[in-house]
């Protein structure tokens, strides 16, 4: 076997794999965002059983490892007779994972809108949908930005777990390069550095949004 060294072309491969990490993150955040949004609505609903179902869902997702969600989607989908590429299983499991956490984050944001805002809009004869649409959600959205961006960092990092079922994103690409070069220290430091390049700006953005939100509410 010919050993390659970790050079420019290998680094290029890592960068192209980073693209898949980003794609998977976007799938997770948009899919998880949609599912999580409805779960957050159910969690703050006036129907007791809807609240209970939503709360149970959140508790379960937050009480099991992302890896298990991944395996269950992977084997669950193949059990259903679907031979799907790893991207689908990876995307599905990341969506489920993100939905559980986003729902809980957004529940907190919806509930942090003062209850007087509900009363005022109710007194203006708005329907519950109108109250959400025009009064509650616009305010909750602003409150939710810092923590949502902060959670995006967690998603970027957790997409690395999908390498375990063979989806070739950044972490898996690192393993592949390592198998070819046997320079694990260099390779994985480079991998870590690439994750850092994506995550650090997001973390800083989250912090900046947090400070801005804080400054505004104390005006």
């Amino acid at each position: 076997m010919i050993l390659r060294t970790f050079g420019f072309s290998e680094f290029g491969f890592l960068v192209s794999a980073l693209l898949w990490t980003v794609v998977l993150t976007i799938i997770a955040l948009s899919g998880g965002g949609i599912v999580g949004f409805f779960i957050a609505l159910a969690r703050t609903s006036t129907h007791k059983w809807l609240r209970i179902v939503a709360a149970t869902y959140i508790q379960i997702i937050q009480g099991i490892p992302v890896l298990m969600i991944l395996f269950l989607s992977y084997y669950g989908l193949s059990l259903a007779g679907l031979q799907l590429p790893p991207l689908v299983a990876a995307g599905a499991s990341m969506t489920i994972y993100a939905s559980g956490y986003l729902a809980e984050i957004w529940r907190g944001c919806i509930q942090s809108v003062p209850k007087q805002q509900w009363e005022a809009s109710e007194s203006l004869a708005m329907t519950r949908t109108q109250q959400y649409r025009y009064v509650i959600l616009p305010q909750a959205l602003r409150i939710s930005l810092p923590s949502t961006v902060g959670f995006a960092v967690q998603v970027v990092k957790n997409t690395s777990i999908t390498s375990i079922i063979g989806f070739v994103e950044l972490a898996r690409a690192g393993q592949l390069i390592n198998n070819a070069t046997f320079q694990p220290f260099r390779v994985f430091i480079a991998v870590a550095a690439l994750y850092f390049v994506v995550c650090y700006p997001l973390s800083q953005l989250s912090r900046w949004l947090e400070r801005r939100l804080h400054a505004r509410s104390h005006r």
Binding site: E119, A125, Q139
Partner: protein
Amino acid sequence: MPEVIVENVHKSFGMVEVLKGVSLTVERGEVIALIGRSGSGKSTLLRCINGLEKINSGRIEIAGHTVSSDPKQLRALRTDVGIVFQSYNLFPHLSVGENIMLAPKIVKNVAKAQTRETAERVLKLVGLSEKFDAYPDELSGGQQQRVAIARSLAMQPKVMLFDEVTSALDPELTEEVLNVMEQLARDGMTMILVTHEMAFARRVATKTIFMHQGKIWEEGLSKQLFSDPQTPELRQFVKADVK
């Protein structure tokens, strides 16, 4: 037919009964002041009248609507009944103009040009024409409260409810809000107000109701009630206020 009928209303929060059989009627164009110590049930009564609190028994009719727990009926009621709160409760993410135009536009489906016209008219009424594009957090408390009144008026209500609307304001800001309310009363609006402003109640309210321990303790024409209280409780209450 009276504009507001409250008949033998009972209301409890858990084990505590806050309204113990309250009845009153309000004729069109009347201004009723509800006074009493905190905990006497006056704010709860006001909130029951527009359905924000559910009553346990009794009957409330207002502006031709019966207060029920059916959301659709409640919404119909609220298009005819405005309420203004102690803490203004403007929508902080909307400008003053948007605050006022929102409900007419989405609830009553009024055309945009017309909602704007209405908004400008009610803003002028409360003396804040120049604040159309300002945001709530750029206004003083008194200005915010006047916008809240304008927001309610834009729905063209038949009855207006005021829940201690000046309690959170400094004296000089209180005055500008009371002036707006007095103007409304003079224009013939039917109003029920929970207030601590005795002088205002005496001057503006046609009738004043003194509530005590969840009941209507004493009621009458405002001037009479204040100058010649019949019960020791009201006498003490009026005296405490003068002091």
